[in-house]
Symmetry: none
Subunit: 211 residues, 4 copies
DNA sequence: AATGAATGAGACTTCATTCAT
DNA sequence: AATGAATGAAGTCTCATTCAT
């Protein structure tokens, strides 16, 4: 970012531009956007755009950053997360785990379907984006959540490779969902996918080898 | 494809162009390639390129097609596949399944790491490619393989949602691997990922709910 | 036209581009022009061209439009037209008609010879241009003029097929002139053609069958 | 033309290429044709095309030449022409003239509408073609025909400017017809145009000033 | 003679970025 | 600070013509 938006005016401008970028991405796809489109959508001139952002990529980066924070925030507000944060004892047994996994996956689907597919488009193009921060946030969040469970139930024999499991699960779930939504002809219901993913994840997290 | 390469000469040209496309993709990324680059890499003129392909996209499509066939071929040559095709009885029990899953995942990693990351780059950009055929091939292959196992072991109570499981597994495994390889700072070994994925997949396929 | 040239600067640019197009057409022929040529002639970059016009055709269209208006304006300023517009009584008898027809044909020749043959080149290529508007303007003008005469002299028995006569005359005169000018080796003088055309037109308009 | 087609094979090839050119022109328009299209339509290779013609323009030139001869031939076969050639006395008075003019104009319309608009397209593009020869042929023909009439009827006072009149008439008639056919929305019938043109021409040829 | 693969100059158009006002 | 006109490099694709076989 070229300038630190200290003044109110500037922050408004920056926000407007980021939001315009979001709109353009949903409407034109990540590589359909142009600086003119974004400026026009934001109701400002291209010149102003370059006053606040070094180049087109910085804009997208800022958008991704913003969304990452939004997601982190939304995650933190999930019931289970708040409970965990509050030090509450998680629902015991596999049933509780399954329930929470299920909720998170539903949350993921809701996210990917929200904002007119903005997240979907961004996840699709994650490889040309600085998505790492987002994934980090997600993984960290899941990690925190999982740790609570495992500290609780298997504290005697802690899982060594938790970070590996989290990595695998996060990516498996996320990209399976994205691929599913992207499918034109859906040969299976979202509910089936949700249940399947839940099954897989719970099995993996609580499986024999986990102990 | 604009012309049916009947003559020997033509097929060479087509192959050279596709191979040049492959090279350019690995060197410049999928959306860094240009028709001139490809032609130059193939050692011919742009005109020749358009003599054999309608446009740039057709070239990429041809490349994807070719690779899809290569992969299908390679899969068919995997020991377990040949045995299955030969009607051989699969190794019994979970151990046999685990072993095969492990082998397939290793095969996948080998594939993604081969060709200087060509596959990696293509999978990354699957959303802007006619990847469906490839995924179809892969899923079909896995489906065939899985069926053998399940017909064998659970023929009394066949798995209703096999296609859902295959979809989930194929995407989970593939994109987790891609994400792993794409990670600049690897915090875990490929072996850990391989074992983790194997664990997850086997658990999912042979879990309680599968019966 | 891509942008409404509201600002002074814009209108200058648009005019410069249209004028450059005119120059290129006279120098290179209608299908010898290129966007780069035009931009260069106008002293701007190709990009600017596309800032104001959708494509090459739009430019030519704008040129034709502009010229059409110029011609219409010039016609309106012809003595006979002003008189007619003012409701003045046209010179009586065939002599008056002949005189006016003669003047219009001379005007036509002057037009086709002006601007370094710009009009000539455009009329030659009328079939690939939106020339309809121009012809409409011309025909309408002639129609108006003619009507005055005929209302005056033959009001008892108005000419039923006036529009047919105008169509025939307009095209006959215009293309005969164009063909004449295009002839490399002129075997007859422009004056002879002018008189011949006048003769033919007057004869046709005031002939027996006209009554 | 690069080679004189002495052998039978060659002449066939040349004819096939010219005919293919004709077909392409009617189907694609004069500036839609490509050498490949023509060669393919003729059922030969591009190379062969260049064996017999220097370049694309030579091909079109040959086509125009061929058509010019066909037209000349067709004209010569018109009843009035045969009679004139046979030294027969033309039908006396204006009635005979009118009748013949009418027939020629109908012949012209038939020609322009024949061959799927081939002639139409060529006349439209006369300016980029070596049409002069054709016009010469037509004018000469008309000149011959007219001369018979005028020698007969006005031999005492021969028309000085016959060539001017012929030039004017030929172009007037031809381009008025072309323009008429080209009109998408026909606001008048072909018959009206034919009669109008006849009227004009006859009036011009037999008018006061002609004597 | 015939073929048709190969050539490559050149046309059109886009769009990130700059800079004078 | 804001504007938006101007830039021009770069990319895609066409097609007349040549030349090795």
């Amino acid at each position: 970012m070229r300038k630190k938006p200290k003044q109110k005016r500037s922050r408004q401008m920056v926000d407007a531009l980021i939001e315009a970028t979001a709109k353009c991405v949903t409407e034109l796809g990540l590589d359909g956007i142009t600086t003119h489109h974004i400026a026009e959508t934001a109701g400002v001139s291209v010149g102003s755009l370059y006053q606040y952002f070094d180049d087109k990529d910085s804009l997208v980066e800022a958008l991704v950053d913003k969304l990452a924070n939004e997601i982190a925030e939304a995650l933190r507000r999930l019931p289970m997360m708040e409970q965990a944060a509050a030090g509450a004892e998680p629902a015991g047994g596999t049933a509780g785990l399954r329930n929470n996994v299920h909720l998170i996956i539903q949350f993921g689907f809701a996210l990917l379907n929200s904002r007119d597919g903005l997240y979907l488009e961004l996840v699709r193009n994650w490889h040309s984006l600085p998505t790492d921060r987002v994934m980090d946030i997600l993984q960290q969040t899941f990690m925190d959540l999982s740790r609570v469970y495992f500290l609780k139930h298997y504290q005697n024999t802690p899982i060594e490779d938790l970070h590996v499991r989290i990595f695998i699960i996060a990516n498996s779930v996320m990209f399976t969902m994205v691929r599913y939504i992207g499918q034109p002809r859906m040969m299976m219901s979202q509910d089936e996918i949700t249940r399947g993913l839940t099954e897989m994840v719970v099995g993996y997290l609580s499986g024999e080898a986990a102990r």
